[in-house]
Symmetry: C2
Subunit: 224 residues, 2 copies
DNA sequence: CGCTAATGTGTACGATGTACGCTGTCAACC
DNA sequence: GGTTGACAGCGTACATCGTACACATTAGCG
């Protein structure tokens, strides 16, 4: 077996923090964070479990790395555009990234060690708002408002008991089954008269809310 | 030992689902969800680990129970008031409940089996908005907007690397330490010129955002 | 070639969730 | 009062998890 100086494209290439983190993200994307164990990850990489620890300090450090990669996938606010367009684009990009990596939602802002991508992102957003003439107080308002909404929307969407394509009727049925009929008339009406209507997609609510927020911020900025 | 027919106030009272769930909530409030193991919980109740399984099917079922208790702590929208007041009160109540039970934030909307308190709550909110003349589409908008914001705010607040009382300067210092100075000028300016100012409390942002949302909804309702 | 540092392995330990079968207790009936 | 059956709690055991530690292998250098 000519296993010598295989600097290019050998099947069993060396491990690296990068490779470990990428694989972990792929794994979590597929099966959720709770399906990600050091052992399964190692197996997927064709390596003994403890080999991973040469590249990440521990599982927490691994997750820190994963989160930073995810953050780096979010578009920075485009500097050319006006603040509203830039913020709108960033929000949608963040929403998309979070729906690609649902496991990350609860972690993005947590991690005690933010990592460079995270800091750079925050810096860019604040810079964008500042450049548009927002004073510090309004920056704080805007940032907490927007990110609260974006993360919260991603969170509630992630937690919906059904996916966009699913048969909503069936899910609702099972959900309400154990309870006396007509105990929740408003909820039932809402589901049957709105949610189950063809064409309804909860994901579409996002931009409605986003524009409402941006309207509000714009008014505040121009007004008082 | 007179251990007979002690129907009132014996030190070692019987277990029950209720007692187990309550203890679990107290434990999670104190140490977070990851500190809650069946073993520690059992020990706290002065009981063997497996005893718990006579009252909850498994840990997931336990968490379902915990979540439903938490939901039941949220005030239902008061039926007497106008929609705006009712929604505002409910939002603040929900925010308070979530900050008492931070571990619940990622779970409230998830759990595949919603539980009665959850359903009743949703029903009441939808009912309140409907009664105020919101059509189904606007109900959907309003609900997703408000809950998104509330949960998201709670989530980002929970994940802040510091508590309201902490020395923000110190935390920020440690956070930015590993990076070249002045790499994140906007972020640094934001922290030093705003966040570190005495009297700043991120929690105060909540009502600002909430009122902005309610303004927006009111405008939509009256307008188009 | 041989040396040294970096990389991967094997084994082992303590914690976790929980299946299974035993025991002790208590309420309801004779 | 005595019997019995349901049910509450216990003890043991197992798979799986993160990861400490000592060892084997390899890579890159002189």
């Amino acid at each position: 077996m000519a296993t010598r100086t295989n600097s290019t494209a050998e099947p069993r290439s060396r491990l690296s923090r990068e490779r470990v983190v990428r694989a972990a993200i792929a794994h979590a994307d597929a099966g959720g964070l709770e399906a990600l164990s050091m052992r399964t990850l190692a197996e997927e990489l064709g390596v003994a479990p403890m080999a991973l620890y040469r590249h990440v300090a521990n599982k927490d450090d691994l997750v820190d790395g994963m989160v930073d990669v995810v953050v780096s996938e979010v578009d920075l606010p485009s500097s050319g555009a006006d603040w509203r367009t830039a913020m709108r684009r960033r929000a949608i990009s963040l929403r998309d990234v979070l729906s690609r990596h649902r496991w990350a939602i609860g972690l993005m802002e947590s991690r005690v060690n933010p990592g460079p991508a995270s800091l750079r992102h925050h810096d860019a957003v604040i810079g964008c708002l500042r450049a548009a003439g927002f004073d510090m107080e309004l920056v704080a308002h805007a940032y907490s408002l927007l990110d609260g909404y974006i993360y919260g929307f991603a969170l509630t969407k992630m937690n919906l008991p059904f996916e966009s394509g699913d048969n909503v009727a069936e899910v609702a049925q099972t959900m309400l089954e154990p309870f006396p009929m007509n105990e929740y008339p408003n909820l039932v009406a809402f589901i049957t008269e709105h949610v189950m209507k063809p064409g309804y997609d909860f994901g579409d609510e996002f931009e409605y809310g986003l524009d409402l927020l941006l309207d509000g911020l714009e008014r505040t900025r121009n007004g008082a």
